[in-house]
Symmetry: C2
Subunit: 377 residues, 2 copies
Amino acid sequence: MMTFWQLTNAAGVYRIIYANDCTISERSNEQGNKMTVTIFDVAKEANVSASTVSRVLNNKSTISENTVRRVYEAAERLGYEPNILAQSFRKQETRTILILTPNMTNPYYSNILSGISDTTRSLFYSSFICKTDWNREEMSNILGMMKKRHAEGAILLACEMGEEDWLLRYAKDNPIILCSEFNPDTSIPHISIDNYKATVEAIKYLISLGHTKIGTISSVNNYLSTQLRLKGYKDALAAAGIEFHPEYIEYASKDYSYRSGCASARKLLSLEDRPTALFCISDVLAIGAINTAAEMGIKVPEDLSVIGFDDVEQTAMFSPKLTTVAQPCYELGKKSAELLITALNQSEDVPLETVLPYQLILRESTGSPVIIKEESI
Amino acid sequence: MMTFWQLTNAAGVYRIIYANDCTISERSNEQGNKMTVTIFDVAKEANVSASTVSRVLNNKSTISENTVRRVYEAAERLGYEPNILAQSFRKQETRTILILTPNMTNPYYSNILSGISDTTRSLFYSSFICKTDWNREEMSNILGMMKKRHAEGAILLACEMGEEDWLLRYAKDNPIILCSEFNPDTSIPHISIDNYKATVEAIKYLISLGHTKIGTISSVNNYLSTQLRLKGYKDALAAAGIEFHPEYIEYASKDYSYRSGCASARKLLSLEDRPTALFCISDVLAIGAINTAAEMGIKVPEDLSVIGFDDVEQTAMFSPKLTTVAQPCYELGKKSAELLITALNQSEDVPLETVLPYQLILRESTGSPVIIKEESI
DNA sequence: CTGAAAGCGCTTACAG
DNA sequence: CTGAAAGCGCTTACAG
């Protein structure tokens, strides 16, 4: 049994995939070598020209029903499989995209990668995942593969602000999508959640619980999300008329390491008038804060509320369960891939900005502050 | 400035990579379209034939020094970049390998993937990571890409026992490497640590600490490693003359889920004469055991010693720090890729079995059992 | 040490 | 609706 798969998109059918899942008749020459069945063999068998076979298999132009049938039958009889290498060469297209990620093991990235990978495959594209370690030279090398025709487009995860200028050099020749992080002034299409709004909602929630002494663990990195979350934190406090305390802000390492989360938390919790709630810009940082609090004898959520960010599944192993802002990682990846492939297939422009929904998930690490009776003189 | 990179392996130079990192002279025709610089253009510029240019750029046969220089200079002057699509087509090679993984987000896998990915890239191969969800049909589809000339070989992570027969159908046409898991009777090259020895060492360590009531959290899956670890557990006990208690074995879910680790631990720790030590065949299971013990008021390591397996970095966030058998995940990936590419490049056979060193890492989750005075009549 | 020529397997104007 | 022909850019026997 032979099956033909058709993939359609807005622009119409653009590729026929030809799958052969049973025994195929393999022809051999006298030496017993396998001979490749080409489009010419099929043409001869079907009594048509190679051009016609090509057209039938690619759904190009209208062809008489009779011919179509004959070609399909001949192809099946011969066990023809199109030579992808020849097709790529002829069309000068690789159907390959580049994925640049700082690393592959961080669950936030790996979930995005998973979404990208599944999506590209379902659209018959290959994705080539490359680890950059935030190294700009490495990124340049990788993107240079597009010029060398190894790939046709790229998705960049975790692009720091300020990477804009040199990136444009590549973006003008090949479509590029920025996933999660981007420069607000960029002309390169990007996709993310609304980090500002998400943070405001998280802080408002803490305020609604009765907290007024709210600290944050931010990061020294140069991501837009970090900036936006810091601004959301400040704005939400201001909107509620809560005085801003600069000492309530600590900055963790650029990669949100657990260690640095612990260190930041320790500083904040050692403050004379320590916060009763902590907004952390990543789950790992939040876990660090919770563990540090425990070490210091501060109970979560009784003495301290903690909110994380991302909702990576690995936090399910912790108790108390983390209240956090969930990012749709898999969907961020999926959508990035779809946008890129759209850009690749039609000259039609892709939207500059795509915003996916976040969700504030309330679990066990937050609660109302214990009201300590103020002693008056 | 133009640079040529040479990659050498045991078989000698096998590819020249040609990198151009500065402004290149781009020629245009009257319409201003970019014209591709081909090997013929370089040939004309250097006053040699295209064959010679090809030979120079591929280091084939001996060529007069003078010619070599002229060709390089011409190539540089013209900003020539070899057309990879044409090369692939001509040689009918994709330089692409398939990686089949149950999922991409589990840190054990993602670390292996990272090793594979870095290595293939450094050897100028592409790796195409595909998620299988343990679905055999999906695996077949993916491996089918080799026949369709999309890829030349494959690395399979987490191949369950019994997958052998249908796999051979693919392994006879294209090299395949099994990483971490395999069938002991397989004829397909594989790489792993010595799971049996590692387990024996771990159990011996527990015994040396004074434990005699040692339980294990195994899994219902069908991996060789699971079998070997169970056998190692039993054998080590037997070797020490410790009686085997069937009720000291529990089986977690096939994917080592945290939840199932908790459930298994609860059963073991609810036993009348409960174990004082638990050997868990994955770190996540071990974390589940530790957390469950805590919930039950059982202290680790005072009342219960716990050993994990894998040493994925994510466990660094837990206290007490986990004693565990470390697997060299990144190296397993790296070595798998090297083996596969070796198999691809030389007909020379690759070793059937490659064993990488493990390491028992002693941290805080293990200790001597508290000796409870036996009450005599 | 080097060149002329064939050919990898397909797609696509062009012509009818 | 269909065919003959050219050509994508390279590599590699073959011949000298």
